[in-house]
């Protein structure tokens, strides 16, 4: 049994599925990174992904093309994030509560909106046409290399965008004036305020970017991963992304690595499900357990670091 498992882990298709599963979490984890850097906890990622996933399908259905769908998902993501921002920043609703409200909207509200717009209940499987799905990209040259080509080529456009965004978000945060402002506001908003940075405006921007990234994650789910929208489509990925952000120490690359870890655990679970002797339910819980363990390990290492730092200071 274990031999079978090991063979499977070292197969090219396994690598392919890790990347496929990681992508949506990566989008959301980057969203969490940007928000957190700006000093706002965006717990509404789950809801934003749900809503964007739905509107991605709707927009692409209305236009019969995937590009407006993706753009629509991003716009809606920003819009929902802005609603959150108005409540949290202007009307002073606790940001966590605002996030929970967005998740409520994402949970049942989307089912209602779906009915409102299409008359369908629960899922959009009957609407899907090939034009609505984001296309797979086969990278020339790379795709012909054995193993590596099989793993890295043939993913959705959005997958490549997700990994490119890790780099772009890093540039944004560390190489642009806007990024500096976002980090300054997150680190010490009073200090930022005292040198003339508009704290509110910066937080709005951070949340907006966060919403856009989560929107892409939603689009990936409904327009590629599941090929249609349904009520259980996001299944806690927005929450996992929060964990990935914490585990990745709030940095884009760290968040990518922890998203990959989650992707690995998930892919492993998916493959084990088909094998004899594993309970599919217990296997499905592995990624969440791994996330908790990851959090604990990360927290322990930070604690040690602080201790060492203090001892050195003596």
């Amino acid at each position: 049994m274990f031999e079978q498992l090991i063979n499977m882990v070292f197969s090219a298709s396994f690598g392919y599925s890790i990347i496929r599963i990681t992508s949506p979490i990566l989008f959301a984890a980057l969203a969490a990174v940007v928000a957190e850097k700006g000093g706002v906890v965006n717990i509404g990622l789950e809801g934003i992904m749900m809503i964007s996933a739905l509107f991605g399908v709707l927009f692409s259905y209305w236009t019969n093309s995937w590009i407006p769908g993706v753009i629509g998902a991003v716009v809606i993501g920003v819009l929902v994030a802005m609603i959150m921002a108005v409540f949290a920043l202007k009307l002073k609703t606790d940001i966590i509560l605002a996030g929970i409200a967005v998740n409520l909207l994402g949970g049942g509200g989307t089912a209602f909106l779906l009915y409102l717009f299409t008359g369908l209940k629960g899922n959009t499987a009957s609407m899907t046409t090939p034009n609505m799905l984001t296309p797979k990209v086969h990278i020339p040259l790379l795709k012909d290399i054995p193993v590596i080509g099989q793993i890295f080529s043939g993913h959705s456009v959005l997958t490549y965008l997700a990994f490119l965004l890790v780099f772009l978000v890093w540039i944004l945060l560390y190489k642009t004036a806007m990024g500096l402002r976002i980090r300054a506001v997150g680190e010490n908003s009073n200090a930022a305020d005292s040198v003339g940075v508009s704290v509110l405006k910066t937080k709005y921007i951070a949340l907006g970017i966060s919403g856009a990234l989560a929107g892409l994650g939603g689009a990936y789910m409904s327009m590629y991963y599941s090929q249609s929208w349904n009520i259980g489509i996001v299944a806690g990925r927005g929450f996992i992304a929060l964990a990935a952000q914490a585990m990745g120490q709030g940095e884009p690359v760290g968040a990518m690595l922890s998203s990959l870890l989650f992707g690995f655990a998930s892919a492993l679970g998916n493959k084990m499900e088909g094998m004899q002797g594993f309970s599919s339910y217990l296997v499905a819980s592995i990624p969440y357990l791994v996330t908790i363990l990851g959090l604990v390990v990360y927290a322990m290492s930070t604690k040690k670091k602080i201790k060492r730092f203090r001892e050195n200071a003596k």
Binding site: L91, K92, I100, G108, Y115, I292, A299
Partner: protein, 370 residues
């Protein structure tokens, strides 16, 4: 200073938040219902009145559906009072319900004892699981929110595993457990309704939690930590212990709610997904402004709306998920501290002016006497 006018304003503000939510509901109904009038009647009136008479059965159903959310509302109330954003109520409810169900099915006990033991087991297991995020928070400073969210899913899958692979009743078409022994089923308050004696336990729990939070040292410590953690620490409270305690109490209340819901409503374990009471509990706690005594009223309100939405989906074809949109809107406005801040400002200024005037008059009077 809290005075009458300001508390009136607070009341009005809550009312405005609810009014906005109902307004949103009306707009949605206008867009999607074939017969908006009938839909609105279903939402607002039909839970109590139908066909020109008071519908007692429906009213009792509303009360019955309050029971689990009172428990989760209280749980959230205790945890949020200590500023602990533990969102693991969902998981604790499901696990509490499942463990209680197992005892109800497999461990034969005497008539009265059986119910007690089953509920107690659900309560304890709920408290035990919450130790995990609480201790991780206190010892390692890791977010209890993320940890408890992840735990919900772990609990759900573990319960589903045992339900499907170990305890399933294969003679039934749907996935469910074997039926409970009759000695473990919580009796109904009124026969042929959904209302069980679990409702009475919920009310007792409310009074107990209110007493605990406002009349005991631990309750005081929990509230103090929520208001100012550093102050609590330097005034000698055991902050870590209290943080764990608040979350364990939250878990116990959720577990108890799950156990009572499972044993009081059906006669077998039927949950194949997280039941959602944990999230509703948060709405309820927000509506009650974290005041335990107000929890049943908030739960009643949500339960009423829920029933209304249900009837609306049956008789007027509006999807019952509208309740989530209404809840989200109430939630956002209710928790918004600066909602109608302008009006509040005016009231405060007016009060201050009046007080100044009074003082001046008094001072002038004194001056005249001298």
């Amino acid at each position: 200073m809290e005075n009458k006018r300001q508390s009136m304003f607070e009341f009005f503000r809550g009312f405005a938040a609810i009014a906005i939510a109902i307004l949103v509901a009306f707009i949605l109904i206008l867009i999607c219902a074939d017969d908006p009038g009938k839909a609105m009647e279903c939402l607002l009136v039909r839970p109590i009145f139908s066909n020109g008479a008071i519908n007692l059965k429906s009213i009792l159903t509303i009360f019955a559906r309050m029971t689990p959310t009172i428990f989760t509302g209280l749980a959230v109330c205790v945890m949020f009072s200590a500023n602990q954003f533990n969102l693991g109520g969902e998981g604790a409810v499901m696990l509490g319900g499942f463990v209680a169900a197992l005892i109800a099915i497999y461990i034969p006990l005497g008539a009265g004892v059986h119910i007690l033991v089953a509920i107690l087991a659900g309560t304890i297991i709920g408290g035990l699981v919450m130790i995990v995020p609480a201790v991780i928070k206190v010892r390692l400073k890791a977010s209890e929110m993320v940890c408890s969210l992840m735990m919900n899913y772990v609990i759900m899958y573990v319960v589903l595993h045992f339900l499907n692979n170990v305890f399933a009743d294969r003679s039934k078409g749907a996935t469910q457990s074997y039926p409970f022994m009759s000695s473990a089923v919580i009796p109904k308050m009124i026969s042929n309704t959904e209302l069980s004696w679990g409702f009475a336990i919920a009310i007792i729990a409310t009074v107990t939690v209110a007493f605990f939070m406002y009349r005991t040292r631990w309750g005081y410590a929990i509230r103090m930590i929520g208001i100012n953690e550093s102050f609590s620490k330097y005034s000698g409270m055991k902050v870590g212990g209290m943080i764990v305690l608040s979350q364990v109490i939250g878990g116990m209340l959720s577990g108890m709610g799950g156990a009572i819901e499972v044993l009081g409503r059906d006669n077998t374990f039927l949950w194949l997904n997280l039941p959602g009471y944990g999230w509703t509990g948060i709405t309820v706690a927000i509506l009650a402004k974290n005041n335990p005594i107000m929890i049943p009223f908030a739960a009643l309100f949500i339960s009423y709306l829920n029933r209304g939405c249900e009837l609306m989906s049956i008789y007027a074809g509006v999807p019952s998920e509208m309740i989530d949109i209404i809840q989200a809107v109430i939630f956002l406005f209710f928790a918004a501290e600066h909602f109608l801040a302008g009006t509040r400002q005016k009231i405060v200024v007016k009060d201050a002016k009046e007080e100044l005037q009074k003082k001046e008059v008094a001072a002038a009077g004194e001056g005249g006497n001298k």
